[in-house]
Symmetry: C2
Subunit: 309 residues, 2 copies
């Protein structure tokens, strides 16, 4: 068996992954609010310890540990170089975990881990090439080519959210204008909904927000859609169009067998998938929502040793 | 030694390529106006025959033939499936050439051959990953990953000209709106120049056109630039900006070690390269103009056997 760890800006999760590549025992800790590297590392160790003790794990039966982290990484040294929302500064998780547990440890970018998980145990079983697009605060990407994670120079391939699709669009945090993630990330979608509700504080969508304690979140639009709100439908249709443009661009460039949509929004399944497939209108590339959901990154991290062969 | 063939809509070229990967003997035939498959095939055979007879080639010393063709290809069967500007219809060049010359024959897309040539004998020597962007009537792409041509499903990867960069832009022949090639192909550039000269039929650029018998071609803008024409400078600056957007998008997705600009315009060298590098503003990916120029496709085709190992 293996141990997989997925570190994010809100929480981190560690789990046992069996030789059957299934996830068996999962422990979660909060990382939001963790301001220094030392606290982050001790949270990590506590979480992994919990998996080991509460899961009654015999460490001699664990073959390796894999850890996925956001931001810039060095996969050779197993280092989290930097991340926008986590206190890592050339933090060598590989050495930390190897010293602590005496187990070979692999590290990669979280989007790569999710793509690798989906390749090994999700919709990607049996394909040779896939691209996974992770929709969240931004848009991340993981690329598997010829059965291996494709990293590019300095592990920076797959910055799919920073393809410009609208040269007259909004300024992105990266400095460019019209990046895909300024309009197609779930944050962009939630912002669009919030803007609408602020402008028109009545109707179905405003009701949904009221029921949610006045908060607009990733579910607001989809709840309003289920109540046949026409405003929600318009926003959703427009969102799918912009999502489809970037997806089609990725397909034109990589022409993978499979493109997987990940991130919280992928739980909406066919609600997203059916109109997206129609808008992309491509009969060569299969488009799916993540099969493993939140577990893709953990399973992918646990199985990282298989991508280094 | 090997024989390489580059088939295009205007002309085809066949040549001997030595074991030192240098091009030794080149023969060119016109393909513009060839309307049927039989004539195309006989032109091909005549051209290769000329290389063999006039080059005094001992066929027993030739290890293989490689052929690059535009459009859709099947590299397993060695077939030119279809092409916009050539009379090929599932034309199995592999079988035709193997039957005629008794030599193992490989076929690939022309943009892939150019990228492979540049990888083997051009700027790509020593890198593992590169993307070649070929600017012409449209924008083609060839991708080398981990020292192999990356094909994607049905050999359709690398349609880089059909990434949408301007969702409010012009309708492309492919049906999508705002494809990169509608603004950044050399045809788009020439059209822009022609439009300007038609609107303002005096000044330096109009003079250049007059000297060229009233014809706007790929050199018009660059000749006017050399004469310090401010209008030409404005058009050129705008062109470089749109070229840079697509190049940066490709870098964000693939993050290759090297991006090579090919096509006739690449002969302008630093005139293109210096402002393009400045506009892309990336310190990880080297950007170069093709080192092999028109010969990249022929050398790459000749060396296709090396990409199949």
């Amino acid at each position: 068996m293996r141990i997989g760890i997925d570190v994010g800006g809100t929480s981190m999760t560690a789990a046992l992954v069996g030789d059957d590549k299934q996830l068996y025992f999962k422990q979660r800790s909060v990382t939001a609010g963790v301001k220094d590297e030392a606290t982050l590392i001790s949270t990590l160790i506590t979480t992994v310890d919990r998996v080991i003790t509460e899961g009654n794990v015999d460490l001699s039966k664990v073959s390796s540990i894999g850890i996925g982290v956001p931001g810039s990484t060095n996969i050779e040294t197993g280092t989290a170089v930097s991340a926008g929302n986590l206190p890592v500064h050339n933090t060598c998780f590989k050495k930390i975990l190897e010293d602590k547990y005496g187990l070979l440890t692999y590290l990669d970018n979280d989007a790569n881990c999710a793509a690798w998980g989906e390749f090994c145990e999700g919709h990607g079983k049996g394909v040779q090439n896939l691209v996974m697009v992770t929709l969240g605060t931004g848009i991340g990407g993981g690329i598997v080519i010829d059965g291996k994670i494709y990293h590019g120079v300095a592990n920076h391939a797959g910055e799919l959210g920073h393809q410009v699709i609208d040269i007259h669009g909004k300024r992105c945090a990266c400095g460019r204008v019209g990046c895909w993630e300024t309009v197609a990330s779930t944050r962009a979608l939630t912002n669009r909904v919030a803007q609408e509700v602020a402008a028109v504080p009545y109707g179905i969508m405003a009701e949904v927000v009221k029921e949610n304690g006045g908060k607009v979140d990733g579910r607001t639009l989809f709840t309003a859609l289920k109540r046949d709100d026409m405003v929600a439908k318009d926003i959703f249709d427009e969102y799918i169009e912009t999502l489809a443009i970037g997806v089609a661009n990725i397909i034109e460039c990589f022409r993978p067998e499979l493109l997987v949509i990940g991130g919280g929004i992928s739980k909406e399944g066919d609600t997203i998938l059916l109109p997206l497939r129609e808008a992309v209108d491509d009969n060569q590339c299969r488009i799916e929502c993540s099969m493993l959901g939140d577990n893709a990154g953990i399973i992918g991290a646990a199985l990282l040793d298989l991508s280094r062969k």
